[in-house]
């Protein structure tokens, strides 16, 4: 009976309050396949995964495991059935070792009842070598980078001998090489007979890794497609219920380029950045591409006053700019959309209105110097409409919004400040396809209105599609510069992986 699917979902439904998160969903997951589940935010992916992981129970319908109906009452029971989940927000203990994390809550005991460190360390070492990981069981998890932390989570599931591993948005925080490595690992697990459910927003990656793809929309099953027999536009159409004409908005041909707004000269931040020099014009979108550690994050942090610069000069509209603090940066007309909206961007337990107006409260005061709540609501209303934030009330807490709408609230917060230079660090991370498109259009529109935008993204297509110019950084230096349309994804990737600075390469060419 090897043909029996590992998981069969039979008309599974789940409601939260009055909202149907899942509505009569039925499909199958075969043993030993990599099965992607895609859909926009709110499509029901997470709810479905939580049902399989035992976090919630279905209101209706049946989950069959190897042909047998099961009730997964809690995560422990799911785990006993061999189902493990790696959540998008990693659940690790940063101050504990890798081994302690892998065995958290399942510690091995010695005969006298003490914790058996050496057995756990040995078992962890075995799993880590299977994963080709380059860190030790005794390393502190907090000292690992995000890709390595994810490996720790995966090691934990492997050590539990799971037959089904659910990866929930595993790539949202990974860069390209880290993703490639994750793919190798995931394929390796499949080849050893483990079934993988892969939940993701990034369709390119889904197509690179998955054997079959299931699409959900508004809590309903839309279809399961064999990857080899379908295309990205077909999947997108199934996800959003309509065709998307093109991935990136057309660039309007500006007759004359704007004035130079930003000049960075010989900027150095020891040890990770520089010397780096570039300039940017009004109405220009300048993209930065680079691998982890290329210095882009540092560059943005320095420009926004979050890290001190060691030496160099920054001119904004010809005047010296000293980014001593984020406050100084804001006063200088800068805005930064940070890469993690949960941790660095939004007050998650606050309303849309409070988040959107936090930076401009001093302009929303009544005659008595107190905050004028009507002005707060007017301002919020303006941005809710302008950015198309989908909500029934501006008093809704942002934690209850979809990723795309959260990102729009974060954009609203900074646009209210009417910045001259906007830094976007991975502006569509964890954002669904429809909202992504809207954010691209917004960026184009802001540039057309004369804003200077500096951006980077974990998706290379996004940097290529959105930017007028792309600087490739490696080890803190600019190694290449591309005009829009000049580079393909492969060329850009190649440049990112190189480590020869631009001027050096040029002088070599001359010699």
């Amino acid at each position: 009976m090897t043909d029996t699917p590992l998981i069969q979902l039979d008309r599974v439904s789940k409601r939260f309050g009055g909202v149907a998160a899942l509505d009569q969903v039925s499909f199958e997951i075969r043993r030993g396949e990599i099965h992607a589940v895609v859909g926009e935010n709110g499509a029901g992916k997470s709810t479905l995964m939580k049902l399989l992981a035992g976090v919630h129970e279905p209101d209706d319908g049946e989950i069959r495991l190897a042909g047998r109906a099961v009730r997964l009452r809690n995560p422990r029971e799911a785990r006993r059935q061999g189902i493990s989940i790696v959540f998008q927000e990693l659940n690790l203990f940063p101050h504990r070792t890798v081994a302690a994390n892998v065995f958290a809550n399942r510690e091995r005991m010695s005969r006298c009842g003490w914790v058996n460190r050496s057995a756990m360390r040995e078992a962890t070492r075995r799993v880590l070598s299977e994963l080709d990981a380059r860190f030790l069981p005794d390393a502190l998890v907090g000292s690992l980078d995000i890709g390595e932390k994810q490996l720790v989570e995966i090691a934990r599931t492997l050590e539990q001998r799971s037959q089904l591993i659910i990866l929930d948005e595993p790539n949202s925080a990974l860069n390209e090489p880290e993703s490639q490595r994750l793919f190798t690992i995931v394929r390796g697990m499949r080849d050893r007979g483990i079934t993988i459910i892969y939940v993701s927003h990034r369709l390119e990656e889904v197509f690179a890794i998955a054997d079959r793809i299931t699409v959900l929309r508004d809590g309903r099953f839309q279809g399961t497609y064999a990857t080899a027999a379908t295309t990205i536009p077909q999947i997108i159409a199934a996800m959003i219920g309509r065709e998307l004409d093109s991935s990136f908005p057309q660039r309007t041909k500006t007759s004359s380029p704007g004035d130079i707004v930003l000049q960075v000269r010989e900027l150095i931040q020891v040890p990770r950045l520089g010397p780096i020099s570039f300039s940017a014009r009004a109405g220009e979108i300048v993209g930065f591409a680079g691998l982890e550690g290329s210095g882009i994050d540092e560059l943005f942090r320095v420009l926004f006053g979050l890290s001190p610069m060691t030496s160099g000069q920054i001119l904004v509209r010809g005047e010296a700019y000293h980014p001593n603090s984020p406050l100084a940066a804001m006063r200088g007309g800068w805005a930064l959309i940070p890469e993690s909206r949960r941790e660095q961007g939004l007050m998650m337990d606050w309303s849309i209105a409070r988040n959107a107006t936090l930076l401009v409260l001093d302009k929303l005061l009544s005659a008595l110097g107190l905050i004028d709540k009507r002005a707060v609501h007017r301002t919020t209303d303006h941005y809710v409409r302008r950015l198309g934030i989908a909500t029934d009330s501006q008093n809704k807490k942002v934690v209850n919004l979809s990723g795309g709408n959260q990102q729009k609230v974060l954009l609203a917060k900074w646009l209210a400040k009417e910045p001259a230079i906007l830094i976007l660090n991975d502006p569509t991370r964890g954002v669904d396809v429809g909202a992504k498109w809207e954010i691209y259009e917004l960026c184009r529109q802001l540039a057309t209105q004369g804003m200077t935008i500096l951006m980077t993204s974990s998706e290379i297509e996004e940097i290529l599609g959105l930017s007028d110019r792309v600087f490739v950084l490696s080890k803190g230096k600019v190694v290449r510069e591309f005009q829009h349309g000049e580079a393909t994804k492969v060329e850009l990737l190649h440049a990112m992986a190189s480590s020869v600075p631009l001027d050096l390469a040029a002088s070599h060419a001359r010699a």
Partner: protein
């Protein structure tokens, strides 16, 4: 009919202070049933209100601190120190307004030092104030030589009015209401208050939003010191003598008041009205234990138990 009632209840539940309000009314009801007239007679109610005013005044600062994700354990000691400093200033012949000003500046200064040390040494305020709590109390003992300070003239508006009643209500209660109103405006209606709560909600995002965290931290600690000072001066006005033992353990009652009132210990949420109601609840509990003739020792035990119960009931009512 039931629909309307349901909606009304739903709206009530939306009020942050509903938990503490229910707890307060239940405790009052219980005391009325058990000790009756003794509890509700005016002199006893005034006594409760006056006792609550000290906790209440300080809870305003504590709600601000907690909603910023900070805490201050030294407030009882600041109250004592201000109480003694003001008394000593009067004894040394300073005019009443000057003595009061010196006292309040001492309170604000203590708070400033708490905040400044925390920022300078990068230590959490809970640790800083754990230390300064002993420092301030020690200074009060040194200044007073551990005995009450009372050899000064009591003929000023501070004692005539401040230690007395105004329109039948203890003056310290009026002071509490003024402090509470100011605190409410500061927390819910001023830019400072919203940004302070932003820090409590997500400190990293607040940093990325250009909010100068150290400045806010110092300012909030200074305000906390100032309101503790106000409470210290009001205690002096009532007792007519600087007491080196007053204010002992107040920090716990004040923190409990704020938390019972719905302020999240983790920051990001809190209301001044809740803190005041929490202070009232604690004062009622302490008063009730005396009326019920618990021994002072058992009274302490029961106070702690009732505080935990009140927080639990508050949380339960809010969830229902």
């Amino acid at each position: 009919m039931t629909g309307e009632r349901g909606a009304g209840w739903h709206r009530l539940r939306g009020i942050d202070e509903i938990g503490v309000l229910v707890a307060l009314l239940s405790v009052c009801g219980l005391l009325w049933l058990t000790v009756g007239d003794q509890f509700v007679r005016p002199s006893n109610l005034l006594q409760i209100a006056r006792q609550a005013s000290s906790y209440g005044i300080m809870s305003v600062g504590m709600v601000l601190l907690l909603s910023m994700g900070e805490i201050d354990l030294s407030i009882g000691a600041i109250l004592t120190l201000v109480n003694i400093v003001t008394a000593v200033a009067l004894r040394e012949g300073m005019p009443m307004p000057v003595a009061v000003l010196v006292g309040l500046l001492t309170g604000a200064g203590c708070g400033f030092v708490n905040g400044w040390l925390g920022v300078l040494l990068r230590i959490p305020t809970i640790i800083v104030t754990l230390g300064t709590m002993s420092v301030f109390r020690g200074l009060a003992l040194v200044l007073s030589e551990a005995t009450p300070v009372s050899n000064f003239s009591k003929e000023s508006v501070l004692f005539d009015l401040g230690g007395n009643t105004l329109l039948g209500v203890p003056t310290s209660v009026w002071v509490m209401l003024v402090v509470a109103l100011s605190g409410h405006l500061l927390l819910q209606h001023s830019v400072f208050g919203w940004r302070a709560q932003a820090i409590g909600s997500n400190a990293q995002a607040a940093l990325f939003s250009g909010i100068p965290l150290p400045r806010y931290r110092i300012a909030a600690m200074t305000i906390m010191g100032l309101v503790s000072g106000i409470a210290g001066v009001m205690e002096l006005a009532f007792l007519q003598s600087g007491s080196p033992t007053t204010g002992q353990g107040y920090e716990l009652f004040v923190i409990a008041s704020a938390i019972i009132g719905g302020t999240a210990l983790a920051g990001g949420r809190g209301t001044v009205a809740g803190g005041i109601l929490g202070a009232l609840l604690i004062a009622v509990i302490r008063n009730g234990l005396v009326l019920l003739e618990f021994s002072a020792y058992w009274g302490t035990v029961v106070t702690g138990v009732v505080i935990i119960a009140a927080v639990a009931i508050g949380g339960f009512v809010k969830k229902q």
